[in-house]
Subunit: 342 residues, 2 copies
């Protein structure tokens, strides 16, 4: 069994997600088996008891469950023995190297911030979501929804944190960091974007951050940029717009290929050519979003996650812990912290 | 030849667009021939002279041309004899029923506002862009880029103007108007969206506007909403994100279908099933964006417009003039104007 350098398993919230607990548990078992990553499965004690032992998987009982539509703030304050809170505590207490949840995103964020704490100098933690780009590494979109109102200083920190994630996850030496706007020129965009552009262009994110200027919506799903920085409102709109648009096209194609007997027959021959592409745009293969800026690794998988998505999320969480994502984010952020003290 | 009720042709900017003047002229000629819509073609005199007469097409000379990347404000102030400015003047002077340009979007907007003027009570004109939704009428996205900074009152007017356009163009009785946000609940979104939601829910847009609440990015390319209201920064990001995402998927599919001899052969059989779909998502068939809130019909076609796109843009402009789009917008806007005076 491969554990992170510190020998710790990945904590998995068995009760969070539209398809919990069955798909989550199946993913956790599969990760322990095929990836050899140790898992700390956190969930209802009676349910865990019914599972029986699995090599590489430890159990941790939590008597409460946070519902998908529950108010995040209240859930975290009131459900102290929930699987979500216990996962974050396991990371904070040094019992797990990282946590994975496919549950209530707002509650997962709030829990991670409260139980793990922010990293020194971080103004606001942000969600970094990988957008699949077939034939290339995914584009990291940050912030994908944690902070609907942002300041230019926050966007500068998102650039630093996104840089750190791209270096950790994809092994890039100098990921291209772009600022989402409505034109490439520095003068394009709203007041927030224009001020953030000026600061990033002046090197506010530090010499290691490769700021390539403004990028546009059409660049998100392309190989022209590695990290796209934006406020959480715009980021969330972009994420859901792409999800809707791409899903629509894929669905329409499958319907068209199912229209007549002749087409169906011919479609059989072309499916082997289309399937790899479908796999590449499938968000389940990218391994989920990461909450950056907290003092621990927190991977938030899509609410509809299947066992396969959970395996990928555990893989990503394990890699982040082993490759010291938190320390990398802390180091990237420290540039600005020093600048501010001066 | 069909002219609008007032017997006027549609003014077409022959010199604007990446593929001008050839594709623009081809589209104008085709529109006059196949749609029977009268066209006033505005362009360089020597070029127009070289074309020779065409039934249903009149020529109007303009010695200057606004470049695609020219500063909009300066172009409008300095190039008074440009094809763009002459088109807007033709509408203002009652020589044309509407104008169509595939040129510099910012300059087209500025020209239309300056030469046609704003409608009474309109705070800011906005761009309404139809997003293709196969199997359904397009979704109207307003504002798609005219105003990067918006107030809640502006969003209320966008709802009114978008409503008027959906009624005019698609003959809808009660188009569903949604506010773009990051969740369906009234409490979701940034400060601008939350305040706009409160006003729209309280009926600020008038009893005729069917406000269905917040919608999300994934709803834009769906048949769940007819008009999506947002600020011009977010709207432009959404537009370009969809363009990029959908284009990517379509390109990847075509590449996959071209990969091996067997697949190529099978692809021939399925193309007839796929092509209608490709046509439906093609922005060229939707007829271009409209600048709403000015005292005249101004259709702004995509910069890369082909002759076919221009034919559709002329069709849309002619319909808007015949169906009294401007009066409809004025009537929709007047609700708020009265409320404000009270």
């Amino acid at each position: 069994m491969f554990l992170a350098d510190d020998g710790l398993p990945v904590a998995v919230d068995a009760m969070g997600g539209d398809r919990a607990p069955e798909e989550i548990v199946a993913g956790a078992f599969e990760a322990a088996k095929s990836l050899g990553v140790g898992v700390l499965l956190v969930g209802e004690p009676s349910y865990l008891d019914s599972l029986g032992p699995c090599p590489g998987v430890e159990y941790l009982a939590a008597t409460e469950t946070v519902a998908m539509d529950e108010d995040p703030g209240r859930a975290v304050r009131q459900k102290r023995d929930s699987s979500l809170v216990r996962c974050a505590e396991a990371v904070h207490d040094g019992r797990a190297s990282a946590m994975v949840s496919a549950g209530n995103t707002g509650a997962a964020m709030a829990t991670a911030v409260l139980r793990m704490g922010r990293l020194p100098g971080v103004s606001r933690p942000a969600i970094a979501t990988p957008i699949p780009v077939p034939g290339s590494t995914p584009t990291i979109l940050i912030d994908a929804g944690a902070n609907v109102e942002c300041t230019p200083a926050m966007l500068v920190q998102f650039a630093q944190m996104g840089h750190a994630l791209a270096v950790e996850r994809y092994g890039m030496e100098s990921p291209r960091v772009g600022l989402l706007s409505i034109g490439e020129e520095a003068t394009k965009g709203n007041a927030l974007v224009k001020e953030a552009h000026a600061r990033l262009a002046a090197g506010a994110a530090g010499p290691q951050v490769n700021f390539i200027g403004n990028v546009e919506g059409r660049d998100v799903m392309s190989d022209r940029v590695d990290v796209v920085v934006t406020d959480g409102y715009t980021g969330n709109v972009v994420l859901k717009t792409l999800e809707g648009g791409v899903n629509w096209v894929v669905r329409a194609i499958l319907e068209a290929l199912n229209s007549t007997v002749e087409v169906k027959e011919a479609a059989k021959a072309i499916m082997p050519a289309l399937l790899p592409m479908a796999g590449e745009v499938d968000p389940e293969t990218t391994g989920g979003a990461v909450l950056l800026g907290v003092n621990g690794v927190c991977v938030i998988s899509h609410g509809s996650s299947s066992a396969r998505a959970i395996v990928n999320a555990i893989k990503v969480a394990h890699h982040a812990a082993s490759e010291k994502l938190v320390q990398r984010v802390e180091a990237a952020i420290s540039y600005r912290a020093e600048g501010e003290q001066a």
